[in-house]
Symmetry: C2
Subunit: 355 residues, 2 copies
């Protein structure tokens, strides 16, 4: 009777398809049937029409050992971040999150006090972003911790921004700066390795508050959604930067049927990130384009709207949407054109950096 | 630097509080802030007011080794069931599911073909129940399989049924029969143990199709929601039977501020379940009240509505709502009154039954 379920006659490794290929593969035969399902798989969030407002739904799963390492992630920060990354998806639709559900599976090595810390972080995020925890599930796991959060938001029909609305000639904008969260992670990983090798050695994390903060306590750009509303700006497309600028730009290009020309000089990099990249012997622009988890917003605007963003703090015009045939390219500071590579999997395979 | 996060100065074991105590504890400081949040934690689903229709949201997480055992759970059934158990929560609100999101974390021992089987089951459930897959997340896990599903439904304000609406004098009704899914699980567990002890022995599962089917391929009672609508019946309270009749009755009693008197003779038990319970030397009524995963509906109706259910197939009147002081009790066939015990954790600790 016992079937060895994971064994199949044909065996294709999951990694062969990559994250996005896998999602495409798995969801290809799921047509939308309900008139209320306006948008299904393939954007930052699903969109449901239940009357006056649109309901926007996004879900994310964080797995111990893949998305976080409890050796350097305080549980409160983990709870906070698990909510924020989902809210970021709702904002990336130009909508406002209103509710979250949180499901947690955890092994018996976690105490109630440990769970309380996670929920403290969840509560802090709910308070700061004014969202309500309205449900969830708490269950056992044979080992490890898994957190699955679903965020539910409200949007207005004419203002929702999808990934497929970019037009040739639109300007590519980035909020905040990118690459810092990735470098923060590399720092934490480096110190973890040092500690594991010689537990007596003090970690060298001083002076790295900014980078580590970007990794452990990201914020979602609610302020930008407010600024858009105040300035009556509706981006033509938008996505949040969870997997890295390169990856997100590919999503927008693919779904909008366009190409993109990114200017290296327009990609915002924090001085601490640039310095740290060099110290790690990494190219800062590579970290900025391929590092993820910054939770900034990448969006495109009609060039006629340029005045609406020009004087807003923290918005950088980083390139232009071009015809599809022109591909997705980076114009370096040196004036060379490089193809930008698409990236996959949301989690990192951290380089083994030593100090 | 490395903090040993799961270690806390005070350490309360999660099991000390029980599932429901833990949920109460964790969610006690989450007031609802948004006017659109009509109902938060504590019912089958959350209720959100986004305009004309109400949006009903439920989420559940299934963990390998806790909620399912891949040794006897076909992956397609697992995918099907993971959707159905969430739809059941939406129906238990007297609402209709319209969308689902599915997040899956899995280790590299699973192939794309294995994932395809899970999604085949998900697709079959989506088609049968006419719901749309609108999002989700696919990610790695260091080991094991975790599936988290969120169902989103549509309801009408005056017809949603909560757990807190039961009134003294209301009749307690149960759809279908209960206890069979639990006994199906016991059969599968028994054969697994036999197989592990002597892999050559053929499993004795013949003749047990009904019980095993109730465990591996449960259905949600959409037909009952249709029948309610047709007969213009709105239950005064409702809950789906995932943890067992006893547990669900406690939820309704606690949240409605009432007691309940259940008649043993009114609790529907399938003949196969009764027979199998006796073979296992278990009391059939105990299996019926404490076994879970039947995904039938437990609901209460105003006695004036009794004609509306009397002639419906598959609805059993199993007792009456009584004043709170009278407690939650079972009137046995022998005429004795027993306190019904509250149950916890949704997953089972299967008795080690041998044949």
């Amino acid at each position: 009777m016992p079937q060895d379920s994971p064994q199949q006659p044909q065996r294709t490794d999951v990694n062969e398809l990559g994250e996005f290929g896998l999602i495409d593969h798995l969801t290809q035969n799921f047509p939308l049937r309900n008139p209320s399902s306006l948008k299904g798989v393939g954007d930052d969030a699903a969109v449901i029409d239940n009357g006056k407002f649109l309901t926007v739904v996004s879900t994310d799963m964080l797995v111990e050992g893949i998305h976080f390492d409890l050796m350097y992630t305080p549980l409160k920060h983990l709870g906070y971040k698990s909510v924020v990354v989902n809210l970021s998806d709702i904002y990336a639709m130009n909508a406002r999150p209103k509710q979250v559900t949180v499901s947690i599976a955890l092994s018996n090595r976690f105490s109630v006090e440990a769970l309380d810390e996670i929920y403290d972080g969840i509560r802090t995020a709910c308070e700061y972003y004014k969202v309500d925890l309205v449900g969830g599930d708490t269950t056992s796991s044979p080992r490890g911790l898994v957190i699955s959060v679903t965020a539910i938001g409200q949007g207005v029909k004419d203002k929702l921004t999808y990934r497929n609305g970019a037009k040739v000639g639109d300007l590519i904008c980035i909020t905040g700066n990118v690459g810092a969260a990735y470098l923060g992670l590399q720092l934490l990983e480096r110190e973890k390795q040092v500690y594991l090798a010689s537990p007596g050695v003090q970690p060298e994390l001083e002076g790295h508050d900014y980078l580590i903060g970007r990794q452990l306590k990201p914020e979602a750009r609610r302020d930008m959604i407010d600024a858009f509303e105040k300035n009556e700006l509706v981006p033509t497309s938008m996505i949040d930067i969870s997997d890295g600028v390169a990856s997100e730009l590919f999503h927008i290009s693919k779904q909008s049927g366009v190409g993109a020309l990114l200017e290296e000089s327009g990609v915002p990099i924090h001085p601490d990130a640039a310095m740290q990249a060099l110290e790690f012997k990494l190219d800062p622009i590579t970290c900025a384009l391929s590092g993820g988890e910054d939770y900034e917003l990448l969006f495109t605007i009609n060039p006629n709207d340029v005045d609406k963003v020009k004087y807003l703090p923290d918005i950088y015009i980083a390139g232009e949407i071009v015809p599809k045939e022109d591909g997705v390219k980076l114009n370096t500071k040196g004036g060379n054109l490089h193809d930008i590579q698409a990236q996959g999997w949301r989690h990192f395979d951290p380089s083994k950096l030593v100090r």
